[in-house]
């Protein structure tokens, strides 16, 4: 390794479309390559939906915003959502070529723990390097990173320090892969309830939103400040019930007014090196996730 070889000509960053032009506009074109993008949300907000959608849109040619690429999907939640993936692949016309089966270009691998992920990295590297195809691997998704750290670590300083070290090791390797093979890396994370204050010089506010709210809870991303330092960009998906109207003054058995509610879903950009503070609304349908212009 020669230090003079570390001098490189900075290249523009290729992006992978999310499959929706409204979301792409919010994200500055899509998910960037050579970068680790994190999607933070509570369960049921659409993290996995968005990931599955990316596995399919990555296969699109660059003229349609894709990477003409295969993807690697590492999942720590079981079972793998294959039925939904089938449904999404049929709903969108992903390739005009009739003999292109999108599922052939998605590689799935289960993960059981953080150590398992670390052990799998060298295998992943040689897999990506030696994968000869018209659709090289250009997208790696880890869904979710939080689940890998749930059980093994206790809440004492020593374990937390050990856990932190693992974050940096994992992130270091993911970023190396991303840089070496010009890949987009997407990692999903969960939320926990916020207890600490997040104001002032000792505050733990991270990103453009003063506070993150979802389903009426005040939350923050899991895995703490250490992991937040390991990702390049962080997106937050939120979900809230919004009252639309009353049902003609009708009441239920307890005497409470009945309401028409709808679920409002939003995507927020918490931090990214290339995009300002933005957010947009989206819906989840049979066809997938679509941004909504208000």
């Amino acid at each position: 390794m020669k230090p003079e070889n570390l001098l490189v000509r900075p290249r523009p960053t290729q992006k992978c479309t999310t499959g929706c032009p409204v979301l792409d506009r919010c994200l500055g074109g899509g998910i960037p390559c050579r970068s680790v993008t994190e999607i933070v949300a509570e369960s049921g907000c659409g993290k996995t939906q968005l990931c599955l959608q990316l596995l399919l849109s990555a296969q699109l040619p660059p003229s349609h915003g894709g990477l003409s690429a295969s993807s690697l999907y590492l999942h720590s939640e079981f079972p793998f959502p294959s039925r939904r993936l089938h449904q999404l692949s049929r709903a969108r016309p992903f390739d005009p070529r009739h003999d292109h089966d999108p599922l052939e270009y998605i590689f799935v691998h289960p993960l059981h723990s953080a150590d398992h992920l670390l052990d799998a990295m060298p295998k992943m590297e040689s897999f990506v390097e030696n994968f000869k195809s018209q659709f090289p691997i250009r997208l790696i998704v880890i869904d979710s990173i939080a689940a890998l750290f749930r059980s093994e670590f206790d809440n004492n300083p020593l374990d937390l320090k050990r856990r932190s070290s693992m974050f940096f090791k994992i992130s270091g390797k993911l970023k190396l892969l991303a840089e070496k093979f010009d890949l987009a890396v997407v990692v999903t994370n969960q939320v926990v309830d916020l207890v600490a204050p997040n104001e002032g010089i000792n505050g733990l506010r991270i990103g453009n939103l003063g506070c993150l709210d979802s389903s009426g809870r005040r939350v923050c991303a899991a895995l703490g400040l250490a992991w937040a330092n390991c990702v390049n960009s962080r997106l937050f998906l939120s979900r809230d019930k919004e009252i639309v109207s009353t049902v003609n003054g009708a009441r239920d058995e307890c005497g409470c007014e009945l309401m028409h509610c709808r679920t409002r879903r939003k995507l927020h950009l918490l931090f990214a090196p290339h995009i300002p503070d933005t957010s947009c609304e989206f819906v989840i349908t049979r066809e997938g996730i679509s941004g909504v212009c208000i």
Partner: protein
Amino acid sequence: MEVGRLPISAALKGKLVSAGYTSLSLLSSLSPSHLARGAQTAWDMLHEEELLTRITTSSVDIDNILGGGISCRDVTEIGGVPGIGKTQLGIQLAVNVQLPIHCGGLGGKAIYIDTEGSFMVERVLQIAEACSNDMSATNTVSQDVHAGKVGMQPRDFLENILYFRVCSYTEQIALINYLDKFISEHRDVKIVIIDSITFHFRQDFDMALRTRLLGGMALKLMKLAKKFCLAVVLLNQVTTKYAEGSFQLTLALGDSWSHACTNRIILYWNGNERYAYIDKSPSLRSASAPYAVTAKGIRNSVSNCKRIKLM
């Protein structure tokens, strides 16, 4: 009598002619103080020397608490939570160092060492374009056009940033060791930015080894700053430590690292505003100033209740 035939030095002749005095008759009616109108006082000379060693951050408020800008011959550490604007400030400085001296730069090049993959060309071009537009808006353009120089375009700013991508701690150390040789061959480099100095050192490390490696790096960087009279800016992450009964934010890499830098700036959130705080400096007093990250880059905050707080 022509000035050219006066028994004075060629330099003096040149100065007189360029000021418009081509013959003795034009000079005879002037007093000495009138002729010396363009001379400098010692105060002006000191101020000019200060300008030669400072790089603007593009936020007047931050420049003010820094005594004019980021200083050369010093190692400045800048730390803060993710998303507060460390990389944005790093890129702004890499662009600003290229500006001419009267615009707050040093007319030099930048070395940008990226250890995390946060450097995005599209963002650099966006910031450079804003800089280029701001320069055209001032009336200095006419002077440059006279001198045959074309205004700097965003692509030119990008060309003058020498970009290194580092993916492991061994690469980082090898590169820092190599910088002396590299900068000797690229004397127009006036700033070295490392984004971030920390990332590759937070994996599991034998602590004694890490302290030794970091100490060696710090020493080399300080020597570079002094030897080549350039600014060294190290972007750092934050971590929490338990002190005095509560959790506090502190810069990563431990207490022994805190001696490595001359100046230390902490970026933090206060309400919905971003603030920069001078945590350590041999010559500046502790103060904090608000700033904003805009599409154009780092700028002054436009909040109407902002104030610079002296500690």
